[in-house]
Symmetry: C2
């Protein structure tokens, strides 16, 4: 079925062969928690059956979390059947590639109190991802789950999984005890860079388990308040990544901030750049304006894209930050607030829309050619 | 010297009598820590002499913190001589009113481990402010320091000081253990509203003493990284104030976010409004879009104003958020990064500039008429 891939950095140049729509955040789920057991060593079964992915402290309900119409015909959890997900989401929108990101509770394995349990879950999730999803359809691309609470094990797992041709990135939860720029994480970045894989982070566990308060002001009281403010964590991490010089140390590393918002870019970029002019002696390893590192190394995904009452304001935000080159479409399927690509991308002029819909993800994930099953046309 | 004040909400209408430049963040300082002793009960002298305003955990230097040329001719700390401050800062820029905000370490008295010590410091600072500063020049307006770690005492202190005609707001540090929307603080807001005083917050102690990490990602490592990310705390607090319904409960309360940045407004407003449409059942007390509460109740100050390479981008941010009606000029004198009003306000068209330079602060602080000593002309 597969054509020979064109591996040059230029990508396929012939018209109609490039992907036109890549969805960079599709939450493939377990049908039932027990589905993971065959991939998990028996020594962990008891713990998994009793506590699963629980990290503690979930303080509010989240409107059901997932779309009920995403439940497969044979039952089970939404987005848990690879064939039905194709019919329900991939085919209707002509999505060329879907980057599978697991679920937020899978991403959060780095927050297990027991790092060995987190490591075992990482391996089980990755083997399940390959076996149950990546074999089903060439449009599926996977994310390598790692447990950042044990960087040595995380590096091992990256090296174990990176050779799989359909694993396209490393994924971790954005909730953390240490900002992502700190040296603690550098071996993970070294392994990702060496294997040509971006490192993605996904929110959902902010303030839970052994993490910090989800805002510097403390703990929100309601789901809406918590959801509004998730991007703070992304700003904190990206500020740390840039200031700590991660992108000087790992010049080919790309960082993907999934589902963390976009329109805060002007503020963060301008504030960092202004401070850099006065305080660059505190970060002597930086050789460019901080915003330049963001433009060259950080990718953001669209969902939940901001929706100002005047859509041209969003386009202005993109124009003032160069966001058109670093933002990638994501649906967040099948979460309650997932985006329809036609509506999410409606505000953008054509060239900007093409980049966001596919070109940026095509370059980042080296998916230069669509597979016959694909055919995204917005 | 003083003319009769025009107290109508309309303010003075005759040309040339309204203030033209109000500086909403001037850091008047103690000349020497001992200057506070006469205002502090003897029982606290030993503690004050040994630890002063120390709250612990200051992790990095901040380029000297204050301008060396602001040291008074007779020595002592910068910005500690009311007469010299007039000569060095107020007169050269023709500032009509300077809102004195004390110093960040004074604002942070709410973070003392001992609430009684914090209460004693609040009283001492306020008495010192009146005695040493507000009597010197009618252009000085003061901020009532309170210790939010003891809300009952804070209410008492607001009621004690509010009748002073030159105290124009309540001030607290933005670093806190609980987001400012929570019920813990409501008696303070009730007292401020009842006395017609805005509540202002000022940064500087984020991550210090008994506060949360200054980012949800943890603790920054360097001063620039910390300084870049201070506004996260303001976003968290404002999100909390709106979501908790503080501005429904206290419809005349105004909240002043000093030195917390501006250009994050589009993101926060749009994200809150989008989520409100889907999640308003979790905040049933809200009757308007969240952004509307910000526009009606929250004021921001300029310094350190964002400086994009293309200044028109900042104007666009103002246009898309209505910031021209809620942003007030501040110099942050005599801190290292303080702003010159001519440069800070240069990007704005005339009408916008007039509002930011004085009109918004004039309305908020009811300073409808300039005093003869003033005469701000930008």
């Amino acid at each position: 079925m597969k054509k020979t891939k064109i591996k040059t950095s230029e990508g396929a140049k012939r018209m109609g062969e490039e992907p036109r729509l890549i969805d960079t955040d599709v939450h493939n789920s377990l049908n039932d928690p027990k589905e993971l057991l065959p991939f998990l060593p028996k020594v962990w079964h008891q713990q998994y059956i009793e506590s699963g992915f629980e990290i503690g402290g979930k303080p509010f309900s989240s409107v059901g979390l997932v779309r009920k119409d995403a439940i497969p015909p044979n039952g089970g959890r939404p987005a848990s059947d690879p064939e039905f997900l194709i019919k329900h989401h991939i085919d209707p929108y002509n999505i060329d590639y879907a980057i599978l990101t697991g679920t937020p509770y899978m991403n959060a394995i780095s927050l297990m109190y027991d790092p060995d349990y987190g490591n075992a879950l990482a391996i089980a999730i990755n083997d399940w991802m390959v076996e149950k999803w990546l074999k089903v359809d060439p449009r599926y691309k996977g994310s390598i789950h790692v447990n950042f609470s044990d960087p040595v094990a995380a590096v091992k797992e990256i090296d174990r999984m990176a050779s799989h041709p359909n694993m396209v990135q490393v994924i971790m939860c954005s909730a953390a005890r240490l900002p992502f720029g700190q040296r603690y994480y550098h071996s993970i970045y070294e392994a990702a860079e060496r294997n040509g894989l971006p490192v993605a982070v996904h929110p959902g566990a902010e303030g839970l388990g052994p993490t910090h308060a989800p805002t510097p002001a403390g703990y929100p009281t309601r789901f809406m308040e918590w959801e509004n403010i998730l991007p703070l964590n992304f700003m904190g991490h990206i500020n740390s990544l840039v200031c700590e010089g991660v992108f000087e140390k790992f010049p080919n590393l790309k960082f993907v901030a999934i589902e963390g918002g976009i329109s805060w870019l002007p503020h963060l970029m301008w504030r960092m750049d202004k401070n850099y002019k006065a305080l660059r002696d505190t970060v002597p390893w930086l050789k460019k304006l901080p915003s330049q590192y963001i433009k060259e190394h950080v990718y953001l995904t669209t969902q939940p894209i901001e929706e100002p009452s005047d859509p041209k304001h969003l386009v202005q935000i993109f124009e003032m930050t160069g966001a058109e080159d670093i933002v990638m479409f994501s649906s967040d399927y099948a979460h309650w607030d997932n985006d329809n690509p036609k509506m999410a991308l409606a505000p953008f002029p054509r060239k900007m829309k093409e980049k966001i819909a596919a070109k940026n993800a095509m370059q980042l994930y080296r998916l230069y050619e669509k597979v016959p099953e694909g055919g995204g046309v917005l």
